[in-house]
Symmetry: C2
């Protein structure tokens, strides 16, 4: 769906660039958003690999399907704090968190 939405937007003449260039964010705001997106994508990866639904994951980390969706989407209402705590709850080590943070951001979401 994300994919199809992107295509629709592109069809209408939008160009997809970095989030930071679209909104005009200060460098540190941009870095913050990047961090969030990296953690978010990794969270989704983890879930998909396990063949969990968002509902399943929510149960595991004692949250709700909607919040998981927002986490994976990097929604503004989700803090780095929650993302990191969630990854830790799934058994990630701080070393893994660090790896995620340094990793190159995935080209197009998910």
């Amino acid at each position: 769906m994300r994919e199809s939405k992107r295509k629709r937007l592109e069809a209408k003449g939008w160009r997809i660039g970095s989030t930071a260039e679209f909104l005009n964010l200060s460098p540190e705001e941009a870095a913050y958003v990047e961090l969030k997106i990296k953690l978010a994508s990794r969270l989704r990866e983890w879930r998909v690999r396990r063949q969990f639904t968002q509902g399943d994951l929510a149960r595991v980390v004692k949250s709700s399907q909607s919040r998981v969706a927002k986490m994976e989407a990097g929604d503004p209402s989700v803090s780095l704090d929650l993302l990191i705590r969630t990854l830790l709850a799934l058994g990630a080590s701080s070393r893994e968190i660090a790896r995620i943070i340094t990793s190159r951001r995935p080209a197009t979401a998910a």
Copy 2:
């Protein structure tokens, strides 16, 4: 002062161990606290190296002296979010954040 306090405690027969072993935290809670402490110490390091007072730092990141003190102390009322945003505001890159996270925790604060 932190140092002198530690000595006083040790003189009274206290043993200084990991936070996680004192309180009884679950693995992920422990990891969370560790992370916080690492970021907190690095923040203080940064400030001291620059010969800033907590007040100075507060001005730079638009916060208050008391909150900076709490950040550096890893106070429960301070989120990872705030710590990371603060470091980013001071110009740290995500790579540096990652380095801090993987780093071994300093033996005794500061």
